[in-house]
C-alpha cells in the first residue's frame, strides 16, 4: 500500500525523493499500482508532471519523451508504423491511455511491447541519476543495468531499414508469451545489419546477436529453415502460458514471421 505521495517539481527533486528507502517512481501506474506496490508500504514519487512527453523527429531519429503514453505514440503523425504496431500490442486501450514509455522501460519486463523494437532499432536512452547530469546510453545497456530516471528515448530511423515487431499471447489482452522485433536492410537481396530482439526468453527483453548472426549476409531464409535454426537457441521455462518446448517452437515461428514481415520504416 502506498503510504506517502510526492509530486516533485523537477527531475532533480524527484531523484532526491527516490533516494529514500522504499520509494518508487510513479508514472502511469499501470504496472506500479497493479502489481509492484500493492502490499508493500511505499512512497510514491509522481513523475507524471516532470518528464517530457513530446514525440518529435530529431534528425534521422525519433525522440520520445518518457512521459508519452502508448496511445500518444499511436496517435502521433511522426511515429513510424512499426513502433505504432508495437504500441498497439498493448491491446487494452484503457491501459494505453495511461501507460508511459518511461514506465514501460522502467518496468523492464520481458514481456514489454516496446523494448524489443526499440532494441532492434538501436535506440538510446536518455536518463538521469541523482546528483548527475542527464546521460545517454544504448537501451540494451540500460536494460542490463537500469539506473536513474528515464527522460527520453531516441530511436534512429534510417532510410532503407525495414523492421517488424510481433507478439504472441493466449488472448489479445494477455501478457505476451513471446515478443520479437527485427530491423535490417536488404542489400542485393541479402540481409544486412540485422538486429533482432526477443522478449519472453529471459528476465528482460534481449538483443540476440547470436540469432542475428545466423541470417546476416544471407538471403531471407525460408520460414521453416529459420525456425529450425533458432529453436534451440531460445531458452524458455514452463509456466501457465505453456511449456518450455512450446515457447521455443512459438518463439522460433515468431522470429521467422518477423523476418518475413519486415517493412520499410521510413
Amino acid at each position: 500500500m502506498v503510504k506517502e505521495y510526492f509530486k516533485p517539481a523537477s527531475v532533480d527533486e524527484a531523484l532526491e525523493l527516490l533516494a529514500a528507502q522504499s520509494s518508487f517512481a510513479l508514472a502511469g501506474g499501470t504496472f506500479a499500482l497493479a502489481f509492484e506496490a500493492r502490499d508493500k508500504p511505499e512512497r510514491a514519487v509522481d513523475v507524471g508532471g516532470i518528464l517530457p512527453r513530446t514525440i518529435v523527429r530529431k534528425g534521422a531519429g525519433l525522440y520520445v519523451g518518457a512521459g508519452a503514453t502508448f496511445q500518444e505514440l499511436i496517435e502521433s503523425p511522426v511515429v513510424p508504423d512499426v513502433l505504432k504496431d508495437a504500441a498497439r500490442m498493448m491491446v487494452n486501450r484503457n491501459t494505453r491511455n495511461r501507460a508511459t514509455v518511461g514506465g514501460n522501460i522502467g518496468a523492464n519486463k520481458s514481456c514489454s511491447s516496446l523494448a524489443p523494437i526499440l532494441l532492434a532499432l538501436g535506440a538510446a536512452v536518455e536518463y538521469q541519476e541523482r546528483g548527475k547530469a542527464p546521460a545517454t546510453e544504448p537501451l540494451a545497456n540500460w536494460i542490463a543495468e537500469p539506473k536513474g530516471l528515464v527522460i527520453s528515448v531516441l530511436a534512429p530511423l534510417e532510410a532503407g531499414i525495414q523492421a517488424a515487431a510481433l507478439r504472441v499471447s493466449r488472448t489479445a489482452c494477455d501478457v505476451a508469451t513471446a515478443t520479437v522485433a527485427c530491423a535490417y536492410r536488404l542489400n542485393g537481396g541479402m540481409i544486412t545489419g540485422l538486429k533482432l530482439a526477443v522478449g519472453g526468453f529471459s528476465a528482460h527483453a534481449q538483443q540476440r546477436q547470436d540469432i542475428a548472426a545466423l541470417f546476416e549476409g544471407k538471403a531471407l531464409p525460408a520460414k521453416n529453415d529459420a525456425e529450425q535454426a533458432v529453436r534451440d537457441l531460445l531458452v524458455a521455462r514452463d509456466d501457465q502460458r505453456g511449456s518450455a518446448d512450446y515457447k521455443k517452437l512459438r518463439g522460433a515461428a515468431l522470429i521467422a514471421d518477423a523476418l518475413h514481415s519486415a517493412k520499410d520504416i521510413v
Binding site: E4, K7, L33, N94, T95, R98, D245
Partner: protein, 955 residues
C-alpha cells in the same frame, strides 16, 4: 491530504489518503458506478472513468494524481435520471444483462464517439478492448455503438425492428426494454455493495495454504487483541453441524459434508478462521496474528489419485443416511476425528474410498449392440476446471434488524439460501430474511451458499452488520468451478452410420466437498445421450472427492462436457466410417415424434420415464446452418498456406427446469390506479427474468410494460421460488407469473361482472387496462378503486403456482468455421452460427443476447480458460491477468444467432429455456473443426495452441 479536481464539471476538494486509489475515493464519496472486477489489476475496466477525456482505470490511479484534472463518470450522463444516447442505445440493443459492466461500457462508447462519430468495427473493438463483460458475448455492443452513432446526428433514429414472434400478442415475442436496464445503465444503487451501511464491519477469512491438512492447533488470542477486532470464528467455536452449500431443492442430492469451519482443511483456500473487524485493514492485520499449526497430509490431486488403492481419504468422518441404507460394501465408520457426512438419501457413495456419488443405468442390450456393429470406437475426453467468473464476485451484507437476520445477497437461490443459512446457524427460517439484490452475474457460482453462512452467523452472533466481499483471488480459489471430468465414450455403428450401441462413462472430480456431485456429472449424460436414438445405451457416472478447488454448478451444468465428449465421438466415428459428420448426426438424431427411451433411466433425482417428443426443430436448424455454411460444397480455401480451414457442426439440447422437483410462485397485485405490482419469487441474475414476468402481467392484463413493477427474490415479500438454475427461469418463474396474471384477470372479471351486470363470459380485457363487456366497460383503475373502497370485494390479487411433470427440451444446431495455423497451433474462429430453439422467444433480443453470452463463455472454455494447479494443489492463475476470459477481441469474425422457435405446449406463451444450452456446442464444434482443418483430434479442452500442436504431433 486535500485533492482538488473537477468531477462531472464541478470543482471538488476531497480529503484523501495519499495511497487511496481514485476508485476508492469516488466510491467513498458516493460515486458507486465505478465497479471492481479484478482487484485493481487493470484487466476488467469496470472502474473506468474519463480523465481529461480519456478512458482510464480509476483503480490504477492514486487520488492525488488527479489534482487539477477533469474527471467524468457515468453519473454525468445520468444527470436528472436522464439517459444519454449511448445508455439509450445500450438498452435498445439489449446489452444490459447483469449491468455490472454497463457504466464502463457507456463511458468507453462516449469516448469513442467523441473522437470518431461514425466508428467502424475495428474502432468499436478498440474502444471496448479494456472492458470485460461475461454476460453478453460483446456482439450486441457493436449494434449499440452504431445505433448511438446514428443518434448523434439524428436523435430520433430507431433501428430496424428485430425478429418478432407471436403476432397475436402485444408484448410477448417483441423486444421491450428490460425492466431494470435504465437503472443499471445509469449506475444507480442496485447491487449488494451499494447497500452497505456506514457502520458495517468487515469480514476477512484466513484460508488454508495447504490442500489437505489437519488443524492441530489454532491460537487466536493475539488476533483478538488487535484494534478494531469484533470477533473471530474458527472450527473450535463455530456451530457444530454439517450441511451442503449446494442451493438445490430439499432434500438435496448432495452430501452434507461441510462444516462452517472444518477440523481438517481440504483444499488450498479452505476456511480456517474468520475475523470480523471495524475495517478491512484491521481484519487483515488480525488475520496475520492468528497462529495455526497444521499436520500436512498427502493431497489427492486428480481423479486417478482419488481412485488409486490406498489413496489418502479426503473425508473420513462417520457416514449416515436420513433415508435409506448405505450401499452394500461401503464404509460408514469414520476415523473418530473428521467431520461427519450425512446423505439425505443414498447416492451410491463410498466417501471413505473418495467416492462422493455414483450412478449407472441404461437401456437395451449394449453388449449385443457392440457385437452387431461394423465399427466400434472408444475415446476419452477431458474437460478441465473452468471458473464462472461473474464480474461481480461473491458478496453479502448481513445484519440483524428487529431481532431477525437480514441478508442482502447476490444469489440465484434466495429460498435455498434462507434454509441453508438457518440450518447452519441453528435458527428457524422465520428469523431470516433474504433480499436478493441485482446480481452482477451468477452463471451457477451463485447457486451455492459460498459466503452467506459465515457472514450470517457472525452478524447473528455479534449483532453487528457484516459486509463480506470476495476478492478475485478468493473467487478463483474457493468459488465453484465446473467439475473436472474424464468421459469415455464407446460407440458402435453399422457401415451406413446407424448406431448400434452407445456407452458413456463419466469420471468427475467434485473437489473437497460434494455440492452437485451427482447431478452435474449426471447432466453430462442426461443432456447428451437423449439427442441420439439408439436402442442400446448405457452410462456410468462416478464422482470423486479430491483436494482441488470446490466444484459446483456452472451454466450448462454438466452438459457442456457431456456434449463435448459425445458429439466429438460421433464425429470421430463418422471419420472412421468415411461419412460426413452431419450425415451421421442426421441418421441418428431425435426428430419430431421420436420416442426417447433413454430418458427412462435419466430421471433427475427421481425415476425417469420415456418421452415421446412433440415437434422438434432440429431439422430446420440443421438445414439453415447447412445452407449458411454451404456445407455440401467444398469448404473455403485459405489464401495463407500457414492457415487451414475446418468446419464443425453439432446438435445440442438442454432442459427447462426440473419437472416434478421444482416449483415457482408469483403474486400479482392490482394497485388503485390500475397499475400492477408483480411479486415474483424468481431470481433475475441479469437474464431478464423480471422482464419476462412483467411481460406476462402486461400481456394478460392488457397493460403496457411501464404499468408493471416487479419486485422479486425477497423471501419476506415475495412467494417461494426454487431459484434460478437448471434453465428454469422463464419456464417455471415465467409460468408462475402467467398463472398469477390469469388468476388476477379472472378475479377482475368476477368483480367487473357484478359491477357491469354482465356475465363473465362476455368480458374481455382490452388495452390499456379496460374490462369490456358487450354493453359496458370499466377500467382496471376504477375496478381496483372500488374493490379497495369498501365495495366488499377486497384487494384484487392474483396468485400463480407452477409445477409440472412435463419436460421441455430446447434444441440447437451450432456451426463453426475455424482457421488453424499449422505452424503454431493457433485457432481463429472465423464463423460461429447458433441456430436455436427456445420456444416462443418472450423477448427476442434478450434471448439472442443470452445465446451470444453463453456461446462466448463456451468459446473461452474451449480455447483459453483453465484453472491450473501446482504440484501441491494450489491454484496458480488467480486473476484475470493469468486466467483469460474472452475480451471483445476473441469474438468470432462472423458471429450469428438465429432463433428457430418451436412452441412448447406448457411453457409461458410457448416459451422454453434459452441460455444454458448455448454452452454445449463450442467445445465439440471447435474440436471437430480443428480436425477438419489439420486432421488432429483434440480431446482435452481448452484447445490451446500447445495442445493442438501436440495433437498434430508437432511437439
Amino acid at each position: 491530504m486535500k485533492v482538488s479536481f473537477y468531477l462531472n464539471s464541478r470543482a471538488v476538494s476531497w480529503d484523501c489518503e495519499p495511497g487511496e486509489t481514485l476508485r476508492s475515493a469516488l466510491r467513498r464519496k458516493g460515486i458507486i458506478s465505478v465497479r471492481d472486477g479484478c482487484d485493481g489489476e487493470g484487466s476488467c475496466g469496470l472502474c473506468a472513468v474519463l480523465l481529461n477525456g480519456r478512458l482510464v482505470n480509476s483503480c490504477q490511479i492514486l487520488a492525488p494524481q488527479v489534482e487539477g484534472q477533469k474527471i467524468f463518470t457515468v453519473d454525468w450522463y445520468s444527470k436528472d435520471r436522464k439517459l444519454s444516447i449511448v445508455q439509450r442505445s445500450l438498452i435498445d440493443a439489449s446489452c444490459v444483462q447483469c449491468g455490472y459492466c454497463t457504466p464502463a461500457v457507456t463511458l468507453a462508447l462516449h469516448e469513442l464517439l467523441e473522437r470518431s462519430p461514425d466508428p467502424d468495427e475495428d474502432e468499436i473493438r478498440d474502444a471496448l478492448s479494456g472492458t470485460l463483460c461475461r454476460c453478453t458475448g460483446y456482439e450486441q455492443f457493436y449494434d449499440a455503438a452504431k445505433m448511438a452513432s446514428k443518434r448523434l446526428s439524428d436523435p430520433t433514429y430507431q433501428p430496424p425492428v428485430g425478429p418478432e414472434f407471436k403476432p397475436d400478442l402485444r408484448h410477448v415475442g417483441k423486444d421491450r426494454e428490460k425492466v431494470d436496464a435504465a437503472a443499471l445503465a445509469r449506475g444507480e444503487k442496485a447491487y449488494v455493495e451499494d447497500r452497505v451501511d456506514a457502520d458495517a464491519c468487515h469480514l476477512q477469512l484466513l484460508m488454508s495454504p495447504h490442500a489437505h491438512a489437519w488443524i492441530k492447533r489454532i491460537d487466536v488470542s493475539k488476533a483478538l487483541e488487535m484494534p478494531g477486532v469484533v470477533d473471530i470464528v474458527t472450527h473450535e467455536n463455530c456451530p457444530d453441524s454439517v450441511y451442503t452449500t449446494a442451493g438445490q431443492g430439499y432434500p438435496e442430492p448432495s452430501p452434507y459434508d461441510q462444516r462452517m469451519f472444518p477440523r481438517k482443511v481440504r483444499h488450498v483456500g479452505d476456511r480456517v478462521a474468520a475475523v470480523l473487524a471495524e475495517t478491512p485493514e484491521q481484519a487483515r492485520a488480525a488475520i496475520e496474528r492468528i497462529a495455526v499449526e497444521y499436520e500436512v497430509l498427502e493431497p489427492v490431486l486428480s481423479i486417478a489419485d482419488a481412485k488409486a488403492p490406498g489413496a489418502p481419504i479426503v473425508h473420513h468422518g462417520d457416514v449416515s443416511y436420513v433415508v435409506g441404507e448405505p450401499p452394500a460394501g461401503s464404509s460408514v465408520k469414520g476415523d473418530g476425528r473428521d467431520d461427519p457426512i450425512l446423505y439425505q438419501f443414498p447416492l451410491h457413495a463410498d466417501p471413505h474410498r473418495n467416492l462422493a456419488a455414483s450412478v449407472a443405468d441404461g437401456i437395451g442390450d449394449v453388449e449385443r449392440g457392440f457385437a452387431e456393429a461394423d465399427v466400434v470406437i472408444e475415446r476419452t475426453y477431458v474437460g478441465t476446471r473452468v471458473q464462472c467468473t461473474p464480474m461481480e464476485p461473491h458478496v453479502v451484507y448481513a445484519k440483524v434488524d428487529s431481532g431477525r437476520l437480514v441478508i442482502h445477497a447476490s444469489t440465484q437461490v434466495p429460498w435455498h439460501l434462507r434454509r441453508i443459512v438457518a440450518r447452519a446457524i441453528g435458527i428457524s427460517e422465520n428469523k431470516v430474511r433474504v433480499i436478493k439484490e441485482r446480481v452482477g452475474g451468477g452463471f451457477g457460482a451463485k447457486q451455492d451458499i459460498v459466503l452467506e453462512d459465515v457472514a450470517g452467523y457472525m452478524a447473528w452472533k455479534t449483532g453487528r452488520p457484516v459486509f463480506f466481499r470476495y476478492d478475485r483471488a478468493m473467487e478463483f480459489m474457493t468459488s465453484r468451478t465446473r467439475h473436472g471430468m474424464e468421459i469415455t465414450v464407446k460407440l458402435g455403428a453399422k457401415r451406413d452410420g446407424t448406431l448400434t450401441a452407445m456407452e458413456m462413462k463419466v469420471d468427475a472430480d467434485t473437489g473437497p466437498y460434494g455440492q452437485h456431485c451427482l447431478t452435474v456429472p449426471m447432466n453430462a449424460v442426461s443432456k447428451s445421450l437423449p439427442l441420439i436414438l439408439c436402442d442400446n445405451a448405457r452410462f456410468e457416472v462416478k464422482t470423486y472427492y479430491t483436494n482441488l478447488s470446490p466444484a459446483g454448478a456452472y451454466q450448462g451444468y454438466g452438459a457442456p462436457k457431456g456434449s463435448f465428449a459425445l458429439q466429438t465421438a460421433l464425429a470421430e466415428l463418422a471419420s472412421e466410417l468415411g461419412i460426413d459428420q452431419l450425415a451421421l448426426i442426421e441418421k441418428n438424431r431425435v426428430r419430431s415424434g421420436s420416442r426417447i427411451e433413454i430418458l427412462r433411466s435419466l430421471g433427475e433425482g427421481r425415476p425417469g420415464a420415456p418421452v415421446t417428443l412433440g415437434e422438434c426443430g432440429l431439422g430446420e436448424m440443421i438445414d439453415r446452418g447447412r445452407k449458411a455454411f454451404s456445407w455440401d460444397k467444398p469448404k473455403p480455401e485459405s489464401s495463407d498456406p500457414d492457415w487451414k480451414i475446418g468446419r464443425g457442426a453439432v446438435i445440442i439440447q438442454q432442459g427447462s427446469g426440473l419437472p416434478g422437483l421444482d416449483a415457482a410462485n408469483a403474486e400479482l397485485r392490482l394497485l388503485t390506479d390500475g397499475t400492477l405490482l408483480m411479486l415474483s419469487g424468481g431470481a433475475d441474475l441479469g437474464t431478464g427474468l423480471d422482464t419476462v414476468t412483467a411481460k406476462a402481467a402486461a400481456e394478460i392484463m392488457g397493460l403496457d410494460m411501464e404499468d408493471v413493477t416487479v419486485v422479486s427474490g425477497d423471501t419476506d415479500t415475495t412467494p417461494f421460488d426454487k431459484g434460478a438454475y437448471a434453465s428454469s427461469g422463464t419456464y417455471f418463474s415465467g409460468n408462475a407469473a402467467v398463472r398469477a396474471a390469469e388468476d388476477l384477470r379472472d378475479k377482475c372479471f368476477r368483480v367487473a361482472s357484478e359491477i357491469l351486470g354482465e356475465p363473465v363470459a362476455d368480458l374481455a380485457i382490452v388495452p390499456r387496462g379496460i374490462v369490456r363487456g358487450k354493453r359496458g366497460e370499466i377500467t382496471l383503475a376504477k375496478l381496483a378503486h372500488m374493490a379497495t373502497q369498501g365495495e366488499g370485494h377486497g384487494d384484487l390479487i392474483g396468485m400463480g403456482t407452477f409445477k409440472t411433470e412435463h419436460a421441455a427440451f430446447p434444441y440447437g444446431a451450432h456451426f463453426v468455421e475455424a482457421a488453424v495455423n499449422v505452424r503454431t497451433g493457433e485457432v481463429k474462429l472465423k464463423r460461429f452460427h447458433a441456430y436455436q430453439d427456445c420456444g416462443t422467444p418472450i423477448n427476442p433480443a434478450l434471448a439472442i443476447g443470452q445465446i451470444y453470452g453463453g456461446v462466448m463463455k463456451a468459446i473461452g472454455h474451449s480455447l483459453y480458460e483453465e484453472l491450473l494447479f501446482d504440484e501441491k494443489g494450489a491454484p496458480i492463475n488467480l486473476g484475470f491477468t493469468d486466467y483469460k476470459i474472452p475480451s471483445i477481441y476473441e469474438v468470432p469474425e462472423d458471429f450469428h444467432v438465429e432463433l428457430v422457435p418451436v412452441e412448447d405446449e406448457i411453457g409461458p406463451f410457448g416459451g422454453k429455456s434459452v441460455s444454458e444450452i448455448s454452452l454445449n456446442s463450442a467445445a465439440p464444434a471447435i474440436s471437430i473443426a480443428i480436425h477438419d482443418a489439420v486432421g488432429a483430434w483434440c480431446r482435452v479442452w481448452p484447445f490451446t495452441p500447445e495442445r493442438v500442436l501436440r495433437a498434430m504431433g508437432k511437439l
